[in-house]
Structure formats: C-alpha cells, structure tokens
C-alpha cells in the first residue's frame, strides 16, 4: 500500500490521529485507548496485513509517554510506525498487543520494566531485565541513581 493510502486507512479508523511522513515511514500518533483496535485491524485486514512487529519500544516525553510500534507486512512489503500516546506519566497504562503479535510479550515486559508502562491483559507482566525488588524505572528521564550513574 502506498503512503497516501496508508494515511487514509489510519485516518478512517482513528480520525484524531496525527499523521506525518517521517524520514522513512508513515507515522501515526494515536490515543492509547484506540491503539489496540487500530493495530488489530492493521494486522487482520488483507489490504494492510502487518504481520511482523519488528520493534516495540517506549519513549518518555516531558508531558506524556509513548509506545512505538514498528510494523512490516511480509507479504505486501510495506511499513508503518504507530505511536500510542499515553497522556500521563503517572501510572501510564495501555492495552497489550500480545494477542496480535506474540513477540510483544517480551518486548512489553521490557518496556514495563524500564519505563513503568502497564500493559492491560498482558499474560505475564513482570520485570524482565531488572530484579523484582528494583525501585524505579531506569529509562525514564527523571530516574535518579546516585551510585551507578555519573552526572553530566
């Protein structure tokens, strides 16, 4: 699917999406409440059939949090970036996409571990890289660790 068609496809489903053409891919920022429905549609619709989630990560912005999904269709060979915007930094929550792509299970655990974003309906949401009793979320911008981090 061409970039323009992709943009229309997303806008039709989520009218409030902020769509832009990035350096490489079409990017769409959508509210986190609508992300799961959109992503599910992107996977199952034969026009898009994004069956390969090659990157899932979180970003900590000053006012909000984002979960970024990089998607590719192995049959149609097109790509898109969907960003689920969570409007709070206190106890951010969004829906899991484990039921759509199984690779998300590990990736979401990592994002939970390092950003503190809770994924609703995740089958096994625990810390992944850090120990269970770790305090704080290291990849947040306001994380303080006086022992292991050198101040710049």
């Amino acid at each position: 699917m061409e970039s323009e068609a992709l943009k229309e496809f997303v806008l039709l489903r989520v009218p409030e999406a902020e769509i832009s053409q990035g350096a490489q891919y079409v990017q769409a920022v959508v509210p986190s409440e609508k992300a799961h429905t959109l992503l599910s549609e992107l996977k199952s619709n034969p026009q898009t059939s994004f069956d390969y989630l090659f990157c899932l990560t979180g970003v900590d912005w000053p006012q909000h949090m984002e979960v970024v999904y990089h998607l590719k269709s192995t049959s149609l060979n097109h790509m898109v970036v969907i960003k689920a915007k969570i409007n709070t930094r206190e106890n951010p929550e969004t829906d899991t996409v484990c039921d759509i792509w199984r690779t998300a299970e590990f990736h979401e655990r990592e994002v939970f571990d390092l950003f503190g974003i809770t994924f609703r309906n995740h089958p096994d949401l625990r810390r992944l890289l850090l120990t269970d009793d770790w305090v704080g979320y290291p990849l947040r911008k306001d994380y303080v660790d006086n022992v292991n981090m050198i101040a710049y």
């Binding site: 990035g22 990157c55 990560t57 970003v59 792509w101 590990f106 710049y152």
Partner: protein, 372 residues
C-alpha cells in the same frame, strides 16, 4: 488398588534451573524448566544478568561514543552492529559515504559473519558432545581475526567504523590475506560437512527437533538463519540493501522444515554465500577517500531514524530519536537475540532436556546481545 498404583506412578511436574552458569547457555542465561520426567513442559528464560543499560548510557554519549558501545552487545557481529549505528547517523546527517567505504564495510561485514558462524559451528558440535569441531572452527576463525588485527588493531571488538566512513584505510596486505583465507576456507568448508552434517548421531539429534513454523517465526519476530530455516524471508541484505549489498549477487538461503537441522544447514549455506560475496568485491575495491568529512561534534537534526542491518544472528535495528542535541533523546537497539529467545519456550515444549541444548545451539544466542 489400581487407582493407588496409578496415583503413585503418576509423574509430577517439577522445576529445575538451567544456568545461569550452565556451559551450554554460552553466557549468563538462566532457564527455569518445568519438567514432567524428562519432557519439557515450559521454559521460562530469566535474563538481565549482564544488563548494562546501554540504551540509557547512549542518552548521554556522543554519536561517536555510541558506536563503541554496540560492540559490547553482539560481540560476534561487532562490525555489523557498528555499521548499523553509523548508517543511522549518516542517514540523519544526509552524508553520502564514499564507494570505497561501502565496499570495505561489506567485505569486513561478511568476514565477521563468517567468523561468527565458524564459532557457532564449533560450539554447536561441542554442545552436542563433539569437541573436535571446536578446534576446527577456531583454526579457521583465527585467520579472520588475524586479518582484523592487521586492519584495525583489534581482534574481536573492532570499532573500525566511524560515522562517515572508516577509522583508517585498509592495510596493504588486506586484499592478499583475505584472498588467501577465501581459498583456504573453500577447501576446508567441505570438512565441516564431513564432520557434522553427515554424521548419523548429529542428524538423529537435530532432524525434527525444535520445530518452528513460518507463521510462528513471523509472529515471534524470529529473524536471521533461525527465521529463514522456517521459511520466513527476512534477509535485510536482500529486502533493504545497505552498503554494497545491492551490487553483489547472492542467494537468500531459505528452508521450510524449521527444525534444528534446517537452521544448521542455513548457516552452513550462508558461509558459502559469504565467501562468494567477498570474492565478488575483493578485487573491486574502488579508489578514493576512506571517510566522508564530518564535524567533530555530530548533532543530528530533530527527527527519528530507523536503520536495520543483517547481523549473523538476524535483524538488528537502531532506532534514534533526536531532539537536535549531540546525544540522542532516545535510542533503542532492536537486538535479534532478544526476539529469537522469546520463541524458545514455543520451540522446546515437548522436547527432552538434551534437545533443549540442541535448540539453544541452533538459535545461536549471544547473551550480551539479549541483555544489552
């Protein structure tokens, strides 16, 4: 009475720790196995023993420094990891690197892939009880590390790439020694088949073990030779060519079986392809500068870039979000080992403990790559 006996004989599920210091995990990976007798019911990987939070460190480092950190992830594909960061930064700066750089990067990238596969082959044999392969693999790998040492002074973590090009030009002996290696290894690679591929015990232990279907491979994001053995066409060198891969002829190796032996065959066949890529390029290194001019302090404009490359283990991605500073606002490394490991549970269910060793070997895990 029969019920009592049946109850007494009924096996109970129990747990066992494999690792974090198990020889076959090749690093500090802990697997909690849920077992019914010798049959695996569930594998739960516990990772993070060598998590260094490289992504957080990158948020304070300059782009030149970030290149050095990528060596410490997948140390067997260090050159290719470096290349990924350099390509992403070059894309952000819109710098066109000289043709000479592209060709040299490709040749060294393929040598890196070869040396990684040689080590994998040696260690794989050792995991399954054949110590000879380890010695054979390291014998041939030594020639490649010698070439690297002469080229840039380091044998493993090379740091030969810098944003814009290479740290310095190739050594005058580079072409001669690489050609010597290719001639040598073309003769030695059939030995690998004699030792392992056609070995009855080895085949018994790998054929039909640890199956992964194409749909599952895509869903789990399993890439590299592991994914291609399941029929998932995911070679970044073919789908999104970078450096000089669009100028060379090579085949993407695909198998459909998706078992341990298919993954093994994929890597062996990839070694032949790598040799062919090197042969096509080694006499055609264009003249010219080895580095495009870049500023001492690199500041990427506001924006975001995603660069993927094919390491020896699969698709490695660098995702840079820049706010116009000298360090990235956020940097994510999508490491192939992380996604490949997530499919381990799926592959190992129903197998025996000894099979798990074979499955792990053929996924070719490098733990620092997973933990980052």
């Amino acid at each position: 009475m029969d019920e009592v006996i049946a109850q007494a004989l009924e096996s109970q599920e129990y747990f066992i720790n494999m690792g974090p210091q198990h020889p076959s995990t090749h690093g500090v990976l802990r697997l909690v196995l849920s077992l019914d007798g010798e049959i695996i019911r569930k594998v739960e990987p516990h990772i993070g023993y060598i998590h260094r939070s490289i992504e957080k460190m990158c948020e304070h480092d300059s782009y030149q420094q970030i290149v050095h950190l990528t060596d410490r992830m997948d140390y067997l594909s260090c050159h290719i990891n470096n290349e990924a960061v350099c390509l992403a930064v070059e894309m952000g700066l819109q710098v066109e690197v000289p043709e000479r750089v592209k060709v040299i990067r490709t040749i060294i990238g393929e040598l890196t892939r070869l040396s990684s596969h040689q080590l994998w082959w040696g260690v794989m044999g050792m995991d399954l009880g054949a110590i000879t392969t380890f010695l054979y693999g390291f014998r041939d790998r030594e020639m490649i590390t010698d070439i690297f040492e002469e080229t840039c002074g380091a044998r493993l973590t090379m740091n030969y790439n810098v944003p814009g090009g290479l740290m310095f030009d190739i050594h005058p002996n580079f072409q001669k020694r690489t050609k010597e290696f290719v001639t040598h290894f073309r003769k030695k690679l059939p030995e690998y088949d004699d030792l392992l591929s056609n070995n009855v015990i080895f085949r018994e232990r790998t054929i039909g073990i640890g199956k992964l279907s194409k749909e599952d491979a895509i869903s789990y994001g399993v890439t590299g030779p592991t994914g291609r053995a399941s029929g998932f066409s995911c070679d970044v060198r073919k789908h999104h060519p970078y450096s000089a891969y669009d100028k060379v002829q090579f085949n993407e190796i695909l198998r459909t079986e998706g078992d341990c032996f298919a993954r093994y065959q994929c890597r062996i066949a990839e070694m032949w392809e790598s040799l062919s890529i090197i042969e096509q390029l080694i006499d055609n290194i264009p003249e010219g500068p080895f580095k495009a001019p870049t500023k001492a302090v690199i500041k990427l404009p506001k924006g975001e870039w995603y660069q993927k490359v094919e390491t020896a283990r699969g698709e490695f991605g660098v995702y840079i979000i820049s706010e116009g500073q000298k360090s990235p606002y956020r940097l994510k490394f999508r490491s192939p080992g992380f996604s490949n490991l997530s499919a381990l549970d799926h592959m190992a269910r129903g197998a025996k403990i000894a099979d798990l060793v074979a499955i792990m070997s053929t996924i070719d895990l490098v733990i620092p790559d997973i933990d980052r």
